[in-house]
Symmetry: C2
Subunit: 222 residues, 2 copies
């Protein structure tokens, strides 16, 4: 048994090593395991939310899930357990600080979830993921997480004395009953820009704000 | 035991009814179950692909998965088993032909997957989903599915004597080492338009073509 992300888990050493190996370090890396881990993570969180919040709508469940499975949350998980120290990186990634890059850390966490699934099966993976995420699951506050994304984005930026996000309609197409909007949301001081589409300008903007919330550096969104 | 999508499954009548109830028919509808079903479907297909195609990259696995879990495939599943006859729809949806609308059918299939998960657990849901999808899993041909999306889209349109898709760059931002492109892909004769973003024009266009392939009516993509 090894202690992985604070939990005792039995994993073959070769599979554990693969889960911790970034693609920069060679062909036998964690990308395929991450593909799997992303899926089992999403399912376990979905099922947990479904059972724990019986009155929330599908849209509300989706928003809560997005706040939990986003890269920044997984990077926090990795940092709490010093996962960076165990990563296997190529020399370029190593020199450029890959061991503390959020995307690299988040991918490794997902790959570990995938490895447990492949070797120990669904139930073990479910228990492992719920145990690892417990501190974040305990903190879930539907009140905050369920405010609409545009309001949350605005509040978050105001709290940091940053200017309001800028929304711009890039295209509008389709007939009256079948409109299609493409909008952009930008936060120029952070150099961030995202786009979204939707059947109304309002929906596309809300979706864009949601994407922007996912992209904000974690220091801003805490 | 009832026969659901061609399989014998034991489901509480109330849960089965909820899985077949469209949101147009009232508050106790299948939206929350669909949220769950979407996740378990994605996981089961991911794991199946991971185990059956050990040499494919994560990107290739993602493409194969997208071809299986897309709405049009699920609507085909529903039609093969005449699921439309069992749907509970509001009067508006009923009059406008909702029982044969692909999105309504696909949602109900996902909700059934979610219902089996909630009532029978992971392993039963996995077996149910693999049994239901077997005809589609058997047909998977990595050769065809793994060609890049732009080539596939072009071939598909040419086969139907339709004009080539039109790609247009909507915006280009960021510094040299951190570019961000937004592109649009349109197929005017079908009235379809999608957008995508990416770190290069090429990647954004490939991604847009992939999205367009998902949106094409199933009669075109078969």
């Amino acid at each position: 048994m090894k202690t992985i992300l604070g939990q005792s888990v039995a994993l073959q050493p070769a599979l554990l090593k693969q889960a911790l190996t970034h693609r920069s370090a060679g062909k036998k890396n964690n990308e395929r395991l991450e593909f799997l881990g992303d899926s089992i993570l999403s399912l376990v969180v979905s099922e947990w939310l479904y059972r724990n919040f019986p009155t929330l709508s599908e849209g509300q469940l989706s928003r809560l899930r997005a706040s939990l499975v986003k890269g920044e949350t997984l990077a926090e998980v990795a940092r709490r357990y010093q996962l960076g120290d165990s990563l296997v990186l190529g020399s370029g990634e190593l020199k450029s600080g890959g061991f503390d890059r959020s995307s690299v850390l988040a991918d490794a966490v997902e790959a570990l979830f995938g490895a447990v699934l492949i070797e120990q099966g669904h139930e073990a993976a479910r228990q492992f993921i719920l145990a690892v995420l417990k501190p974040w699951l305990d903190k879930i506050d539907p009140e905050t997480n369920l405010k609409d994304p545009k309001s949350r984005l605005q509040e978050m930026l105001q709290k940091r004395a940053l200017p309001l996000p800028e929304y711009r309609t890039l295209s509008e197409s389709g007939q009256d009953h079948n409109k299609h909007f493409v909008v952009e949301c930008a936060v120029p001081p952070l150099g961030l820009k995202v786009i979204s589409e939707g059947a109304s300008r309002k929906r596309a903007e809300q979706d864009a704000a949601g994407k922007m919330l996912q992209r904000l550096p974690s220091v801003l969104s805490s």
